[in-house]
Each structure stands twice: as structure tokens, then as C-alpha cells.
Assembly symmetry: C2
């Protein structure tokens, strides 16, 4: 059952369970601090594709397969797939997933999309609309640079506030769980080997974000553009649930990077909210910002997706983490509208992921 909590948080009494997840990244990400946690590291950034767009589509195709395999299910068992990416018309999702034949619901929340797809999957499952739903996003450094900034061959200089778009994808597959049984093909899921009936990971609450515009017009300072949305959603979630940072093992933002993180702290302090002790940012976890020349950190839909669906969920399965508030943030702009002088609105969605007995 879905319960409204406070102003705009939703609670799921049955807690949809994440039965499988998978991650795949490029060479640079595979050389970073989380190297050991990814399921697949491509050393060739074309992923065997002819173009970078096709490479990115291949990333999504790969992680969906990894997640379904981990959950012991096949594409025919999945009721809906919620998918999105940063490319124009979300082609990584449509081309990456077209062979699976899964009812498809494209989502667009820029770099907040992984939280959005997880939230939509959880709502679909908890409402009974789906037994099993998948959530997947991706990004690719080369396709993103060409589309949002300059072709790589141009050799454009990067500003200190710029972030490095992660080449990667993450997919999570969730299933309903009622009276000790998984909804859908219970036997297939429990036979997968990955599922320990007593030690699971599930989605307990979500909070959908509002569009927040901080007036930032610098397309090389996305962290700042998204900080206001992150602060707004985190404050709303904590207020709605009557919790503080002390109730969480980790508050994990998507890709604010260094600049955005500091700004978010400052905005939250104005509401007397401190999260510093429990906060990490996927964009700062995936790269070593000292040695990997990524300036303010990693970014892109694939950043939070690949970190969540590897390092975070694997540690939750091991019980090294128990209660995680995942808050992915997106900058809802396009190069066209920024060139027209517009500021960059942001959005952030929160997904509370917990371990269950």
C-alpha cells in the first residue's frame, strides 16, 4: 500500500524488493576508486558499437541483462521498464532496450533520472500495476561532450567547475513482496542464488522533487544549478518523515560534485539541517578528483546509476550499509535554451533504500 507522508513523501508498506542489479562502466571509471565493485568494465569506449550513441545504447542493454540475470528472471517477466538518458530524444534507452520487448516508459529527469526510474518502478509495484519493474539509465562521456559541449576533436578547455560525464550505466530490477513471497515468478527469483530471502534490499519511501531555478546561467557549473533542488528535496523528505541525518547510514547525492556539494550544505544550513557527517556524492566517489583530471567530479545519469547499482547496493547486501537516502539531481536544460540566455532549473528526487530481514 502507498501512504502519503507529510507534504510530498510516499511510503511503501510492502517495500518493493530489489531482486537484481547490474553496472557497466568505461575505462576511466574502471581505473577509479570503485573499480572492484563494477560488474563490467569496458576498455574500449565504443563498447563494440560503430558510434558513441550506439555504444551508450549497448551499455543500457548490458546492465539490464546483468540485473535480470542476477534476479533470476527474463525480459518476459518484467512488466515495465522505466528508462532514460541524457541524449536527445533519449535514444540510448529506446535503441538499447528495443530488443527486449518489455513495455517501455521513457523517463526524463536529466541526471536525476535514476532516482526517478526507481521511484516510478516502486510506485508501479506497490500499486499492483506491476509485479516486476526495471529502472535503468546511462550516460557516455563522448556522446555527451559532442551533444552538450564540443566534439572531442576540438580539444575545448574545461573550466574548474566543469564535471566529467561518466561513461556508465546501472540497472535495478524490483519485485513486489507480500506474505513472504515475491510477486511474479517467485520460484525463479528465489532460485537465482543472488536472492537471500532473509537479507534483502528494498525501497521504503520516495519524495518527488519540484523544479528549482537558482538563476545559474553557466552550463559549466551544473553542480551549482542542481544544489538548490537537492537541498529542497532533502529538506522536504526529512521534514515529511521527521528524521535527521542521524537516522541514515548514508545520504547519497547523484552528481553535485565539489561545487554543488558545498553549495547544498550552505543552503541546508539555512534551514538548520546538517548532513555533512552522512553525505557522499556519487560524482566524488567514482573518480579520484586529485589524480583523474575530472575537475569538480563525475556527472551524468550513468554516474549515480553505476555507483548505486554496484558499490552501494553490494554493500547493502553485505549489511555494511542499512538505510540509504539516495537523492539524484538533474539540470533540466539544453544547450539551445542556455544559448538563449535562460538560467538552468534543477530537480531532485529522493529514494529511501533500506535493508530488510
Amino acid at each position: 500500500m502507498i501512504q502519503k507522508i507529510g507534504e510530498r513523501t510516499l511510503g511503501f508498506t510492502d517495500i518493493p524488493r530489489i531482486i537484481g542489479f547490474g553496472s557497466a562502466v568505461g575505462k576511466k571509471e574502471g581505473e577509479g576508486p570503485l573499480s572492484a565493485w563494477f560488474d563490467k568494465i569496458y576498455t574500449d569506449t565504443t563498447m563494440g558499437g560503430e558510434t558513441w550513441e550506439k555504444a551508450e545504447a549497448a551499455l543500457q542493454k548490458t546492465t539490464v541483462k546483468l540485473a535480470m540475470d542476477a534476479g533470476g528472471i527474463e525480459s518476459g517477466d518484467v512488466d515495465f521498464i522505466f528508462a532514460g538518458d541524457l541524449l536527445n530524444q533519449c535514444i540510448s534507452s529506446s535503441y538499447g532496450l528495443r530488443d527486449y520487448g518489455i513495455p517501455f516508459l521513457g523517463q526524463y529527469g536529466a541526471c536525476s533520472t535514476m532516482a526517478q526510474t526507481l521511484a516510478m518502478a516502486a510506485i508501479a509495484i506497490e500499486s499492483g500495476a506491476a509485479n516486476i519493474a526495471a529502472a535503468v539509465t546511462s550516460s557516455h562521456f563522448c556522446s555527451a561532450e559532442r551533444q552538450f559541449r564540443y566534439p572531442l576533436q576540438y580539444g575545448g578547455q574545461r573550466t574548474p567547475t566543469a564535471q566529467w560525464t561518466v561513461t556508465g550505466s546501472g540497472c535495478a530490477v524490483a519485485a513486489g513482496y507480500r506474505n513472504g513471497l515475491f510477486c511474479g515468478p517467485h520460484d525463479k527469483i528465489t532460485a537465482s542464488g543472488d536472492i537471500n530471502l532473509k537479507r534483502q534490499v528494498g525501497i521504503s519511501r520516495v519524495c518527488i522533487g519540484k523544479i528549482i531555478d537558482m538563476g545559474i546561467t553557466d552550463a559549466n557549473n551544473m553542480g551549482a544549478a542542481m544544489a538548490g533542488a537537492a537541498a529542497d528535496t532533502i529538506a522536504a523528505f526529512l521534514r515529511d518523515t521527521g528524521t535527521t541525518q542521524n537516522d541514515y547510514d548514508l545520504i547519497l547525492t547523484g552528481d553535485l560534485g565539489k561545487v554543488g556539494t558545498d553549495l547544498m550544505y550552505e543552503l541546508l544550513e539555512r534551514d538548520n539541517i546538517s548532513i555533512q557527517d552522512k553525505h557522499k556524492d556519487c560524482g566524488l566517489l567514482i573518480f579520484d578528483t586529485e589524480t583523474q583530471d575530472v575537475h569538480a567530479g563525475g556527472s551524468g545519469c550513468g554516474c549515480s546509476a553505476s555507483v548505486l547499482c554496484s558499490y552501494i547496493m553490494k554493500r547493502m547486501r553485505k549489511r555494511e550499509l542499512g538505510n540509504v537516502l539516495f537523492v539524484a539531481t538533474g539540470a533540466l536544460m539544453s544547450p539551445t535554451i542556455v544559448q538563449q540566455g535562460e538560467s538552468i532549473p534543477g530537480v531532485a528526487h529522493a529514494v529511501n533504500i533500506i535493508t530488510t530481514e
Copy 2:
């Protein structure tokens, strides 16, 4: 309550009610056969904006206000807005809606987006996740031509199979309805004047589409690219629900145009399904294809949105139509991937809209 019907159709026992809807279109659409049905016709295609992208954003902002006003509610009463458009990074939605402060869930299904947003709004309401949810999409001829084809100044020739992107937007606001009461601010809704408690319009069933690739590579023949998806979803819906065209007053596709419509009929005939007697296409309703030089018909997210949220829903309110199967179709491509030689996958979602006593 949400009930699964057959393979992939969902039924809503409480039937979320459409409490308000609104439409706004450009000059050419205002000169077409549906002229008298639109709420607002702009004679200046910039809608007072500085650019065509800002003009399109203004269209969404306008129709959301029209729909909220018709329903007697304000932005603070809306739990979620599901919104999408065709522009890169869906900027018509994010910029058009940023001032409302409504929790925002961007949807991308190309020209299928109006059906997708309505389906998501219905699921959110029926699950209890929302009392009130809005669904809105838009398109604009000038922003679409520049982005998908050529700048207007270039004066590119159009092929006979080409369709004319509609400058328009439609928004529907839906509310839960239980035990004779609207969920949320019942008194505000019933005081609106637009709501007749005994003669309403609601969403009874939805069917989410799969990605179907017909192998079409001609970006000027979108109707053909989408016909397979339309046929697949219509066939699935009729099979799941055990109904035929005779059970509907109207089967309304989004923007298949002439070429796509004929191809869809042919594909459905292979499954021994005939819908010709009850079928209309929004792309063929909105323009007079004989006199308005639109070749194969209208297209774009705003085509089905503006036709549904004017001509169709107003006729349903008047009881001239009772049971409508709305099937919007989308071509999930981008110019980049088509230039890379890829075929164009399509998707179609079905929403069954009915009158209720």
C-alpha cells in the same frame, strides 16, 4: 484499485476523473476544422516569447493553467505533473512548468507522450500516490522543424509522406474519486462550475506499449515507423479486454497520418482485427489535408494532446461520445541516430477514456 487484465492492460476500479482540461494552438491549427473547439488560438506563433523554444514552453504553461482553472484547483493542489515534449532535453516542459512548483516527473515517449502522461497520472491516482495529477505535452512547428529537419529559412522541400508538426498543447488534470467524493479538495473541485457530479469523464484502463521496430529508416515517414506499435498495442488491448471495435464509440490514434493509418489497418487485418469503422487519427482531424498543405497530416506531441483536450473531451462531456480508446504513438528516434543509418523504433500506449454517471 489497479487490476491486471490479461497480458499487459491495467484496469482502474475507481476510475480517476478528469476534472479539468485545456488546449491552446497556433494560427494554422486555429484555421483548421477543429477551430471552434480550442480554448485558445494564438495568431502570433511566438506566443509572446523571444524564441520558438520559449514559445512552446509558454504553450504548456498556458494549458496547465486552463486545465487547473477548469477543475477549480491551483498548482498547490496538484501532487504530480507528468509532462513531456519533443525538444532536446524536454525543455518545453521544464521551462514551461518551473514557476508552478508542482512535483515534476518528465516523461519521454515522443508523440506517444500524451497517452503516457495520462496513463502515469491514472496509475498515480488509483494507487493512492496522488489525489490530483496533471498530464501535459506540447509541440511547435518551428522549434521542431529547426531541431529535427531544417531551419525554416532554408525552405526545404517536404516529401509526400511528411507530416506537419502541430503547434499546440493539451493538458488534462485528473483526480481520484471514491464514494461520491473527489480526493483532495472536493469542495473546490465541485465549486468549479465545470464539474457535473453526475456526468463525468474518467480513465478506466490503460495498456503500456512495447518498442516495435518496423525497419523504417526514412525520417520523413514517421507514420509508417509508428504503425507497427499502434497495431501491436491496439491488438494487445482488445485481446486483454476481450473487446472489439464495436465496444467503442471511437478508437483515436495520435498522429499516424494518412500513410501510417493505412499501414496500421493492414497490420491489424493480419490479426483479423478491423477498426476502420470506429477509427480516427488526430493528425487527420486537426488539419484539412486537402487545403492546408500538410501532406500526410499533423504530428507532434501537441497534436493528440490538443485534439484530445478539446474536441474529444468536450464531446465526451456533452455525451456525444461515451467510450474512447486513445492510442498515441511515438517514433523513438533522433536525427543523430537516423543519420547513423539506424531504423526508427515506435511505441504506442492506449488509454481508455469513458463517461461515467
